[in-house]
Amino acid sequence: MQSEQELVKKSMEGDTQAFEKLVLQYQNKVYALSFRYMGNEDDAYDMSQEVFLKAFRSLKTFKGNSSFGTWIFRITTNVCLDELRRRKRRIVPLSLDEAAVTSRGIEVEREIVDPSPPVDRVYEQKELSQYIQGLLDQMKPEHKAVIILRDSMDLSYEQIAYVLNCSVGTVKSRLSRARSILRKQWVERELLP
């Protein structure tokens, strides 16, 4: 059994067999992370493929300052958020946590058309996942990312800071803001106390 470091080193030298082992090691996590970002399996598949191809091409820039896992999460995040931003520009930009500005320049809360089922329903795990995914999909990409990286992928603040290329302080404040937005939506729907 080769160590991860050895596999990375061999992959850097162009050994695709070694790289495939790294792919096998990380594909579930990368796929899960892509799925959280993109919200559906088709996109998750395409993005994850792109992530590994990009990782192989960019291995030379991997200096070992982070673990390979965190590095690949960084690529996943960049690939997915870029795609989300690209799409957002094509569609009408809308995010829940950005106050809409009226033509007279007055900030107003956006009215959200709530697609959720009646509040007294008991959620099945799968339904709940889908529902939460729906809420995440309406968030700003950077807020969505920080919640997913922390709560779904269980990364530390330092790791998130590396993945998002920002400071730990920024992670802290962004996470607080993102969670607050998400919590409010849940409270409004009486899903949380």
């Binding site: 790289f19 792919v23 998750a44 994850s48 820039t61 919640i147 997913i148 996470l175 607080s176 969670r179």
Partner: protein, 364 residues
């Protein structure tokens, strides 16, 4: 501590990221505030649910598909740069090149740049080293043309060194030797460009320089602003065949901008219409760039419009096209060369290099 302050800290608190002092104050407040406790429970529940969300698994053939695509790409990469075993004459020329290079280094270690230039000018008149080197270069170029259609298998290290003449020979005859004219390079036909939006300018620059140093690529850097964002322009002098790979590596540093981004980044409240883009270049509003650089930026915009795919195509076309006979340097060089130099001679091996123009923009 007030409820609003507590509310802001609750997220960090559930992750045990509050300071000791904050934790004490927070807990004291929580002990007597039911509303804040409720909010805290909400955060904990939310985190718990997020942790337990179901995630799908990739299909069984996922890694096999990655592997297959890697192989396909690898073949593409290698077909762009032909690596061949040189013919017999090639070996002789390679040895000659090596000798010329060695003598160049030897000479430069004894002479100051000024002296060396004088002696180089003298030698130029005597035509001795010049003929040897130019002859070698010509031969290299001939092989490249002749053997373009032959097999591309033999990738032995020796063959690699010998068949990559410009990279090696340019060290000996390149930047240090001749200066005739100072001219700022504007992004011409032999330039590739990209806009990259980054979170932290300094980190990104360090990465760019890292990439350049790793490959011993010369670069120049200019600072300025793009719209209301701080920006740095880095021009790398690279071999055409390096362009696609380098672009990929460089663009991995931050977020590559496309046309829609450029309207955002230009710092205008109302984004320009798409039709505007065709007619007028998006120059930075508070530009600190010189006219020449502005000119380059116009070019950058145009290149961007060509789209990423087109750019890759272009890069490949460039890689295959005939070498340019011009080589110019910008000021503020990388550590290696201190002077502003330009070489305008025929058949210079470095003439095959192209400029890779990267604009790094600080994200707001």
């Amino acid at each position: 501590m007030k409820c609003e302050q507590v509310s802001e800290l609750l997220s960090a608190y559930i992750d045990e990221m509050t300071s000791e002092k904050e934790t004490k104050a927070l807990e004291a407040h929580l002990a007597q505030c039911a509303d804040c406790r409720k909010e805290l429970d909400g955060y904990r529940l939310l985190r718990g649910i997020m942790q337990q969300l179901e995630s799908p698994l990739p299909p069984d053939d996922f890694s096999t598909v990655v592997q297959k695509r890697l192989q396909e790409n690898k073949n593409k990469i290698f077909s762009a740069t032909t690596i061949e075993r040189p013919k017999k004459t090639g070996w002789i020329a390679a040895v000659l090149a090596g000798l010329a290079l060695a003598s160049g280094i030897y000479a430069s270690s004894y002479l100051s740049i000024g002296d060396f230039l004088v002696s180089w000018q003298d030698k130029k008149e005597q035509k001795k080293p010049r003929i040897a080197i130019e002859d070698i270069i010509e031969r290299f170029q001939k092989w490249n043309k002749e053997e373009d259609n032959s097999s591309r298998e033999a990738a032995e290290p020796e063959a690699k060194i010998a068949s990559n003449p410009s990279a090696k020979v340019s060290v000996g005859v390149g930047a240090e030797n001749t200066r005739e004219e100072v001219e700022l390079k504007t992004a011409g036909d032999d330039s590739y460009s990209s806009h990259i939006m980054v979170k932290e300018l300094s980190t990104a620059l360090a990465q760019v320089i890292g990439i350049a140093d790793e490959r011993e690529i010369k670069y120049s850097m200019t600072s300025g602003s793009y719209g209301s964002s701080e920006a740095r322009r880095v021009v790398l002098e690279v071999e055409p065949q390096e362009v696609p790979q380098l672009l990929m590596e460089l663009e991995a540093i931050g977020r590559k901008l496309d046309v829609a981004d450029l309207t955002e980044a230009s710092g205008q409240d109302e984004a320009l219409q798409a039709s505007d883009l065709d007619e007028k270049p998006l120059l930075p509003e508070k530009s600190e760039f010189s006219d020449n650089e502005k000119l380059s930026m116009v070019k950058i915009e145009n290149n961007e419009e060509a789209g990423e795919d087109r750019k890759e195509e272009l890069a490949k076309e460039k890689a295959a096209s005939a070498p340019d006979d011009k080589m110019l340097f910008n000021s503020e060089k990388g550590e290696d060369s201190k002077d502003i130099e330009s070489i305008k001679e025929e058949n210079k091996p470095e003439g095959t290099k192209v400029n890779l123009d990267i604009l790094i923009i600080q994200e707001k």
